[in-house]
Subunit: 460 residues, 2 copies
């Protein structure tokens, strides 16, 4: 049973409600409900996935995507559409193959991890040593693993909030550098994913502390199962590995920026967006054409409803997948500008189920109208959380800018994330529309609220 | 409300029940229930999928699988373990790739269909013409499709009894010959499958009536979606296709046969089994190591329970995937032998939900004890049906031999069938055990029933 205290009730009715806030709430509800019938987001997500396909950072396809983006955002009526260009170090995937030589000859399905080193041109052949955790790898005796192919497996279960990716993902982020430091010939990891398909999960990793690059690849989950079973048989397992990945010069990349200018240029910028680049294995539908589509369709609805108080800046970041280079460029280039809010959609296209905030204490009461506007969509207010909802804004956020994260249901996200299976069929149009409605409500409030959301204490 | 007529009730209690039948029923129930705790089937399905992996007809891996099979069946205590060897025409897959050249440059994921022809070594480039059905392809004007790449799409929905495969599968079985007859440069079909993964479905097709081999490949379903969307944009779509498949000599294959000799050599043979070869993309877990495991684990339980009346012959067919060559060899080689029953498990490892019969009219009342033994497993008696439950016995069945088909739930079978995703993780151990229990019940009855099940009228 829930008890309402008399005091709480009295306080609630005693709050002064400015007329403007009430008008905003009514407008927000109308815009939100209309957005449930959105068709623009599906058009936006379809175009880059169908007409461009994979858009790897620094690729000619990413450049075509920028051209398409500029034309599309202009056609939608956005102002100040431009590209913040920058150069990136270009990593090429090349080819990757793994053949069990003994005792059970057969091919395993792998994909190179981003920034992987290469084998010699004719490959390398070595015994496999298995580890069931990153901690076990870290504790390995260098003498026993030198020159070997190290295999790190794990268990990753689906979770609505996607949180297992933080810890399990460290196998990809840190494992290769640790293996390199141990003198390993190469590292194979179980895909950082929750599916059971022969579609391995790639993903970026940096060589930490000057670690020498070695071949680093992910096995598809069924292949990791297979290698585990082979190792459990007890005989030495030898693999012939070929990885032809390489760093190859510098390439142009960039962030595409578009705006809805606010009525008050001093009221600060509300930044929303996603990332335009994708991994090269799939067509980048859930990661992250969906994010572009959701935030831009919502912004377009606010634009059509009349000029907002604050400027809404839509950013389609480039080169997110290879080290959040677009986010870093934005942070450095726009650090002097007053951002009232950062919000990114980069966790697929399944429904928003909660929102979390990283805003100034004084602004917290301003979340009540947002909570009320989102509740009819089945969205609850979560705790305060410093986490951003996207990598790009997480690096910008470090400048103390406030963030609101609309948390999507990630239960099936890591089935698909960074695989060839990231294709348009994975988008559920009804859930995509629910996202647009949630973002429309967020923008309706945040772009018209005259109160400062930041700066956020505890962030430099 | 269900009404029981007095007559039916009286008839039911008036039936003479021979003591032997009652003993068989009790034994059957005990054996069936014990089989629900089976562990042997999982061991048998694991071995070839893990230790051998893909076992393409005629390959060195299939030969290793036969060696393993002989050793395993002998170790289990089967008698007369031997190989019926035969040679097959060897089709090599080679490599296959498809690149959209214009208007939306990107790669599509394809796999060659079995028996595909090749492109020139440096590929071919042609416009794509789309068809939404086999009928539309058949109706095409040769003048408009000559030299083009023909693309046939379709919709295939999952079905418990797998029946859509019969009609939709004709796109694979007949489409290439039709396209060849039309003068097409090549044919691409939407995968004959119900999944949405980048794992295209291969499968055999014969060149009908001397059709000239052309390159024939299947697009993964998300890639077929992609190509459909491109064609709907209205601009000509050009693809660069490379397929290096070829026929290359003859290779040894064979059926592995093992027996539990019956007490009465004149009582006829009960043949059960599955096929040992698999397609080369996956490790052949559901297609068809599962069938070997289920039928052999059940036969082993009957063996351990005491010598049956009839001989149980376990056949692990070779070269099923490339035209049912093992089934054909068996039919020709063993046509003079008295077979009391044929039953094959070749539809995955999900639970049996019904059984169907193709037996002599006079033997139909003998199905009552079987129906009673299977009912506690959730299995119902379906109609009389000439269909076999496996391709191998379907060609043998044409000799008029009786068949009982234990029908498995095929709802997810065509998600995986003939893809790289046919791996051990797709086997649900609990459903595998239910299969063993069903087959144990079937064998307990069929191998001890003194009545003839055949010959089946209407079959030559």
């Amino acid at each position: 049973m829930i008890k309402f205290s008399r005091l709480a009730f009295a306080a609630s009715i005693a709050l002064p409600v400015p007329l403007t806030a009430q008008v905003v709430a009514e407008q927000t509800a109308q815009l939100r409900d209309a957005a449930l019938g959105d068709s623009l987001a599906l058009v936006i997500v379809d175009a880059p996935t169908t007409e461009i396909g994979p858009r790897k950072a620094g690729s000619e396809a990413e450049a075509r995507a920028r051209d398409w983006a500029v034309a599309k955002l202009k056609a939608l009526g956005f102002a100040n559409v431009r590209i913040d260009g920058f150069d990136i170090a270009n990593w090429e995937r090349g080819a990757a193959s793994a053949e069990v030589i003994a005792p059970f000859p057969q091919s395993l399905t792998i994909t190179a991890l981003g920034n992987s080193g290469a084998t010699p041109a004719n490959g390398l052949q070595a015994e496999v040593i298995g580890f069931d955790s990153l901690a076990a790898l870290q504790a390995a005796d260098p003498a026993s693993v030198k020159g070997k192919i190290l295999f790190v497996t794990h268990r990753m279960t689906p979770a609505q909030d996607g949180s297992p990716y933080r810890t399990v993902g460290d196998i990809r982020r840190l494992g290769p550098s640790i293996a390199s430091g141990l003198g390993a010939a190469a590292i194979l990891i179980r895909s950082i994913g929750t599916d059971s398909h022969r579609t391995p999960h790639t993903g970026w990793q940096d060589w930490k502390n000057g670690a020498r690059p070695i071949p680093a690849a992910a096995l598809a989950n069924p292949d990791a199962d297979q290698l585990e079973r082979m190792l459990k048989r007890g005989q030495p397992v030898t693999i012939a590995l070929k990885v032809s990945a390489k760093m190859a010069g510098r390439r142009p990349s960039g962030n595409v920026i578009a705006e809805i200018p606010g009525r008050d240029p001093m009221a600060g910028i509300v930044l929303v967006g996603g990332h335009l680049d994708s991994w090269d294995l799939g067509t980048g539908a859930i990661d992250d054409a969906a994010g572009l589509a959701i935030t831009t369709a919502a912004a377009k609805r606010i634009m059509d409803a009349g000029q907002p108080l604050r400027t809404i800046r839509v950013v389609w970041f480039g080169s997110e997948e290879n080290g959040v280079l677009g986010g870093n460029d934005y942070r450095d280039r726009h650090k002097g500008e007053k951002h009232q809010l950062l919000a990114e959609s980069d966790f697929g296209a399944d429904r928003v189920w909660r929102f979390q905030t990283a805003i100034a204490d004084a602004a917290l009461p301003r979340m009540k109208p947002l909570a009320e506007a989102l509740a009819p969509l089945g969205i609850v207010q979560g705790g305060r959380n410093g986490d951003a909802s996207g990598s790009d804004i997480s690096v910008i956020q470090q400048e103390g800018m406030p963030v609101i994260a609309l948390g999507q249901d990630g239960t099936r996200y890591f089935d698909i994330h960074h695989t060839a299976d990231d294709t348009l069929d994975k988008i559920d149009p009804a859930q995509l529309r629910q996202n647009v409605a949630a973002w429309t409500a967020l923008l309706s409030i945040a772009a018209n609220d005259p109160v400062d959301y930041g700066p956020v204490a505890g962030k430099k």
